[in-house]
């Protein structure tokens, strides 16, 4: 099981080699090398998994060295192998391998080709560290690492101003969440006396419910930032400025699910904090619904998929909030398959249409891109939850637990499921069926199917999306993932007593709702490409949430920075520079006045500060 | 507070005297202004600003050297007054102090602080030239 070290080591090696020699290796050797590194990591993950098959019960910890200890705080660099982390590294490295492979084709000809793989390998390394870390600070390292890589990759095409600002936005939102992570770590340390996951289960028994609630809410803040929950989800939409493989890997399959992973990892504490769980469940289902509504009206293909991702992440949080950790992880894995597939399929479309992302300028692509079309349809049916595709089982498991917790949560979830089937249907019909509307993009020549280095990952992912449900069938004896994860979650996992009939009824409802959504989308969008009645402006603009943030927060922040810029910088500092550099001499005596005024204004501010201090001292502090 | 009263009275008196002189001369002096009388010069152009005066930096160096020795003497006087009481300890300390001052002085002399007239010391001229030649570099560095 020490092979977990290799899981971490391979992407790190890839990163270092590419960083040093990447430019000399060039296109496409650098890409293949990066892919190989991640594939090595995947193979190691399989080795770890096989080694574990016998003894699932006991977690294995690979301790490398002590990092630091300050006071009672001992932090070591150690990696944890248990059901949860193995499940995570398997699907993270697996999906990452496929997406690396796809990127070899997608990024072809980009001037910063090698650098893309540098970032991508660093990302995989950080992600693996995050999911295998055995202490909170080490997990934080991975958490920060994936955040930084996400920032760099979103603004990878930094020549576009939108890409640069999108990167910044993602960064800032995530940093807000990180504060929650650190504070939560401090609270955990203060109350459990340790920041190691090994002590979490035993130590959490001593926590008071209030403390547990505080800890959970702080970490949920971090998770909400990373996993794009209400009200922090807006960055994910802008993140679509990044190259499509990035969107698929980071903003659909892996990084955004880190928040869900974190909550699952903390399940012993979550089990104690019922109020916080309810908050998580409500936020989750609200996110799922709001994003699904917004997805129904988007015209940018990547925006649709992005909203869909937010919506699915909401489902996962619903699972976490209702104590259905296994279901949440199950949904996370299947979602990684079909969402990565949808992104890569969209990327394939975008690639063949010379970068066009507006679905109004697509249509009838079925004829030109058969593989993409078929795989996309399979992805659609999976995400919609049509039986027997994977989404049916994973989403069904989440909804079943939601029903056990509260029928209201379930109802909201079911409505969202209907919307999911519908908006994805809209995407498929408008893009692949109907009339061709891409002439002005392609200038006459027909779109083409993508090269096989791009379609092979599509096919593999499609297969996974179709049969992914096998991982955890709701039939006794076939719930592999459930029994695999059972030792990790233990008693934290909620169990809702339900009769077999009720369960069947719920499953039937899911199936009917999914089929209904598919039917509705066919009725509304079969052969139609535009329908203002169904594409409300409020949904197109994402409920105006982003605009609201922009007004309320971003502009205030910018204003502060601008004041700093104009007043402090231009007036005082730049004034001084020009004052000395000669302009002052040209203006004559005025220059000297300006300059003497500047030091004076410095003094004035210092004295102002002094007066405030003295005022405080004399009025408040002095006896 | 009573012992401060003379000081306050002194201050007030001083202020009254100064103000009184100004006010008195303003009231008593005859005033018959004329344009020519108000002009600073009987002929020539009225300067708009103070002309810059070039002042050799060596004057400052000499002044600094003077101050250094001045301070040394200020310290040596009380030492001399209590030399017997301070004993060997005092001698060592004052010698150390004098040594420090002397090294500073030696440095100054070596750098030509006291050499008036055309500089003959090779090293000093080199520094001056380098400093002069560096002026454009610094500006270009902007």
């Amino acid at each position: 099981m020490g092979a977990v070290g290799f899981v971490v080591l391979f992407p790190l090696l890839g990163f270092l080699v590419l960083l040093t020699f990447g430019r000399r290796l060039g296109d496409p050797v650098a890409g293949w090398l990066g892919t190989l590194a991640v594939f090595g990591s995947f193979v190691s993950a399989i080795v770890v998994w096989l080694a574990r098959l016998g003894n699932e019960g006991h977690p294995y910890v690979l301790r490398l060295f002590d990092w630091f200890s300050a006071g009672g705080l001992h932090v070591n660099v150690s990696f944890r192998v248990d059901g949860l982390s193995v499940a995570m590294i398997l699907f993270v490295t697996g999906v990452a391998t496929l997406i690396h492979l796809y990127s070899i084709g997608y990024m072809k000809g980009d001037p910063l080709y090698h650098q893309f793989f540098v970032y991508l390998n660093l990302f995989v390394f950080s992600m693996v560290v995050l999911v295998t870390a055995n202490t909170l600070p080490l997990a934080f390292l991975g958490w920060e690492g994936v955040g930084a890589c996400s920032y760099w990759l979103i603004s990878f095409w930094f020549e576009r101003p939108t890409a640069a600002s999108a990167g910044k936005k993602a960064f800032i939102v995530n940093r807000i969440g990180d504060t929650g992570f650190l504070l939560g770590t401090f609270l955990v340390f203060e109350h459990l006396g340790s920041v190691s996951f090994s002590r979490l289960t035993a130590g959490s028994l001593n926590l008071s419910p209030d403390t547990a609630t505080a800890i959970v809410l702080l970490f949920f803040l971090a998770a909400a930032g990373k996993s794009a929950q209400l009200p922090l989800f807006t960055w994910l939409l802008d993140a679509m400025e990044g190259p499509t493989p990035v969107s698929a890997l980071i903003h659909a399959a892996t990084m955004v699910t880190a928040g869900v992973y974190l909550m699952a990892r903390l399940s012993p504490i979550l089990a104690l904090a019922h109020t916080a769980d309810l908050v998580i469940a409500i936020v989750g289902v609200a996110t799922a619904f709001v994003a699904a509504m917004a997805a129904t009206a988007q015209t940018d293909i990547k925006k649709i998929v992005a909203y869909s991702t937010v919506s699915q992440l909401g489902y996962m949080m619903l699972g976490i909030g209702t104590g259905a950790y296994t279901a949440a992880i199950f949904l996370m894995i299947t979602h990684a398959f079909y969402k990565a597939l949808i992104f890569l399929g969209s990327g394939s479309v975008i690639h063949s249409l010379n970068g066009e992302q507006n679905i109004r300028r697509m249509g009838a692509l079925k004829k030109y891109m058969p593989i993409t079309t078929v795989t996309m349809i399979l992805a659609w049916l999976s995400i919609a939850g049509v039986p027997p595709f994977s989404g049916f089982f994973s989403k069904g498991a989440v909804l079943e637990n939601a029903f056990g917790d509260s029928p209201l949560l379930w109802a909201a979830g079911v409505i969202t499921a209907l919307l999911t089937a519908y908006y994805m249907g809209r995407l498929v019909y408008v893009v692949f069926y109907g009339t061709p509307r891409f002439e002005e993009v392609t200038h006459g020549h027909d779109p083409h199917e993508s090269p096989s280095v791009m379609t092979i990952p599509l096919i593999v992912l499609a297969a996974a999306a179709v049969i992914g449900g096998l991982l955890n069938l709701p039939v006794s004896g076939f719930g592999f993932l459930g029994s695999w994860l059972a030792p990790v979650f233990g008693t934290a996992q909620a169990a809702y007593p339900m009769s077999a009939g009720l369960k069947d009824g719920l499953m039937a409802t899911d199936a009917v709702v999914a089929l209904l959504g598919v039917f509705l989308s066919w009725r509304a969008w079969g052969g139609v490409s535009e329908n203002p009645a169904l594409e409300r402006k409020i949904f197109f603009n994402g409920w105006y949430i982003d605009a609201f943030y922009d007004r309320a927060f971003a502009r205030t922040g910018t204003a502060v920075a601008e004041v700093a810029d104009t007043v402090v910088d231009r007036q005082i500092v730049d004034g001084a520079v020009t004052g000395v550099a000669g302009v002052a001499r040209l203006v004559g005596g005025a220059g000297r006045k300006v300059q003497s005024g500047l030091v004076r204004s410095y003094l004035l501010i210092m004295v102002g500060g002094l007066i405030v201090m003295l005022g405080y001292v004399l009025t408040v502090a002095a006896r | 507070m009573a012992q401060y009263l003379p000081i306050v009275i002194m201050l007030v008196l001083g202020g009254v005297f100064a103000a009184g002189s100004f006010i008195g001369s303003g009231l008593l002096a005859p005033k018959r202004p004329h344009r020519a009388k108000l002009a600073p010069y009987e002929c020539g152009i009225v300067p708009r600003s103070e002309p810059p005066e070039r002042f050799p930096v060596r004057f400052f160096l000499v002044a600094m050297i003077f101050i250094i020795f001045d301070i040394e003497i200020i310290f040596l006087y009380p030492f001399a007054a209590a030399a017997g009481e301070l004993g060997t300890f005092g001698v060592i300390e004052v010698a150390g102090f004098a040594l420090v001052v002397f090294i500073a002085f030696a440095y100054l002399v070596a750098n030509g602080a006291l050499s008036w007239g055309p500089s003959r010391k090779q090293s000093y001229r080199v520094v001056e030239e380098r400093l002069a030649s560096k002026v454009p570099t610094g500006v270009r560095g902007e």
Binding site: A561, V577 | V127
Partner: protein, 514 residues
């Protein structure tokens, strides 16, 4: 009458001077004098190798003495010396080690670059050693007057060093501005000392502590007034908002190697004295001064981070970054517990090494692109990763270490300071600190991005020419020693970032004579 007064005091009580206690100062000052003497007597003014060797020996000897003191201080032998005016304890010894580390790095990095703008004379190293001595005096000062003298020794040498690029208007202005504002703050500091003396009847910190422990002031207005004025003096030196205004100008105008040295040395001296004065002597007044210190800390952290966001001048960004760091270190003073003090020391050594290394790298970058030691805009860094990958990577690591990236000392420094704040249960302060660190990361990443983005060819041809011009002067040889210094700071930052335990233990041993 005067003589009668003097005579009435006889016999004079001779102070017992423990030369061991003041050995760091003596060594540094002796080194400075030796360099001056050599330069004055040998007949040849420029002997860079010899000067550098003397300075290095002095720095190492100072570090050795301090290490020895730290070792001695373990056996509870810590004591006061020179009539109680100099403290001689683990804390001052640790500060002495920090000073030695800064000196060592700065001596390796600086003179090679200074040579290009002001020749190979002895003055630079002399000023450096003297200002370092000022910092050790501040760290050891057990009397407010001694601390003030240390402050002045440190400051006056720094004023001169800041103005080293004589030919450049910006540098002249910076030095002059620093001087005037520094004089102002010194005067206020002195006034603060006077008020404290008025309130307690002594300037000796130990006696002040004893006095305040025994007596309750019915009206402590004068004392607190004095404390506020002292805080202004210290706040100016460490560039805490709102007394920071000099620092962006001065950081930009000063030669880059001086900037790094100054940023580190002034902070070490001022913070060491600040801790000794406030956390020890005025520990009883903690309720009164704490709000002021936390106010300064928060303003510094927040504004330091915000103002840097829109800067395009690299050295100004780093100036604001150091303001942000000052806010963090102030939090250690604010927490005031023994653990917080040792965490502050850890922060100081981590910060000092990182900042000297970072500015050293900026010096190397500037040297390579032909703008010796002057100001440097972010655009000039564009494409550095292409032309000098090693340089860009090392710079990125150091900048990220400033940002607090894990596995560097920068992370542990910030982390432990926040732990200290959490330990005194001031959670909101911890939140603000973390948010400011979060904002700060944005501008640190901007520096990294600037280097790793874009092509060197994109910049106008002039720069390419500048690179070639610099290359003809064999930069490799000139930069060799600087690279050694930078590598040392990198090894320190990353090495102790991964295995910080020895350093943390060392900082934990640094107790103050109470």
């Amino acid at each position: 009458m005067i003589f009668a007064n003097v005579l009435s005091q006889l016999p004079i009580a001779l102070p017992a001077i423990s030369y061991k206690a003041v050995a760091p100062e003596l060594v540094l000052f002796g080194g400075a004098l030796l360099i001056l003497l050599v330069s004055a007597t040998v007949g040849k003014r420029e002997l860079p190798g010899l000067y550098r060797a003397i300075a290095l020996v002095a720095a190492l000897a100072e570090g050795g003495f301090s290490g020895y003191q730290l070792y001695l201080a373990q056996g509870a032998k810590a004591s006061l010396a020179v009539a109680g005016a100099i403290a001689y304890d683990g804390f001052s010894a640790f500060a002495g080690i920090v000073v030695a580390a800064i000196l060592l790095l700065a001596i390796l990095i600086g003179p090679g670059f200074i040579k290009r703008i002001a020749g190979d004379g002895p003055e630079f190293l002399v000023l450096m050693l003297i200002s370092a001595m000022g910092a050790t005096v501040m760290a050891q000062g057990e009397d407010l007057i001694v601390i003030f003298i240390g402050l002045e020794i440190l400051s006056i040498a720094l004023y001169v060093m800041v103005g080293y690029r004589i030919g450049d208007g910006l540098a002249r202005e910076a030095a002059f501005k620093y001087f005037i504002l520094g004089g102002f703050s010194s005067a206020i500091f002195l006034y603060g000392i006077a008020l404290v003396y008025g309130a307690t009847g002594t300037t000796n910190l130990a006696k002040i502590g004893a006095f305040l422990a025994l007596n309750v002031l019915t009206h402590d207005g004068v004392l607190l007034f004095g404390l506020a004025l002292l805080l202004l003096g210290f706040g100016f030196k460490v560039s805490a908002v709102p007394f920071h205004l000099w620092s962006p100008d001065v950081y930009q105008g000063a030669p880059t190697s001086v900037t790094g040295y100054m940023a580190a040395m002034a902070k070490v001296g001022a913070f060491a004295a600040l801790i000794r004065v406030f956390d020890i002597a005025f520990a009883g007044q903690i309720v009164q001064w704490r709000p002021i210190v936390v106010g300064l800390a928060i303003l510094s952290m927040v504004f330091g981070a915000l103002f840097a966001l829109r800067q395009r001048e690299l050295k100004k960004i780093l100036a604001y970054s150091s303001i942000n760091h000052a806010g963090f270190i102030l939090l250690g003073v604010y927490a005031g517990t023994a653990a917080a003090i040792s965490n502050t020391l850890f922060y100081l050594i981590a910060y000092a090494v990182i900042v000297v290394g970072t500015f050293g790298l900026v010096s190397i970058v500037q040297d390579s692109i032909g703008v010796s030691e002057g100001s440097c805009s972010l655009d000039q860094l564009r494409g550095l990763a292409r032309s000098r990958p090693a340089l860009a990577t090392v710079t990125a690591i150091m900048v990220l270490a400033q940002a607090g990236a894990p596995f560097t000392t920068g992370f542990l420094a910030k982390f432990s300071i926040i732990v200290s704040v959490v330990e005194i249960r001031e959670y909101w302060v911890a939140v603000v600190a973390m948010l400011s660190a979060a904002i700060a990361v944005a501008f640190y990443l901007r520096i990294v991005l600037a280097m790793f983005r874009g092509e060197p060819e994109e910049v106008e041809g002039e720069r390419v020419l500048a690179i070639q011009g610099a290359a003809t002067e064999a930069p490799a040889r000139r930069q060799a020693l600087a690279w050694i210094g930078v590598s040392l700071s990198l090894v320190f930052t990353v090495g102790f970032g991964i295995f910080p335990q020895p350093l943390l233990d060392l900082a934990a041993r640094a107790h103050i004579v109470g």
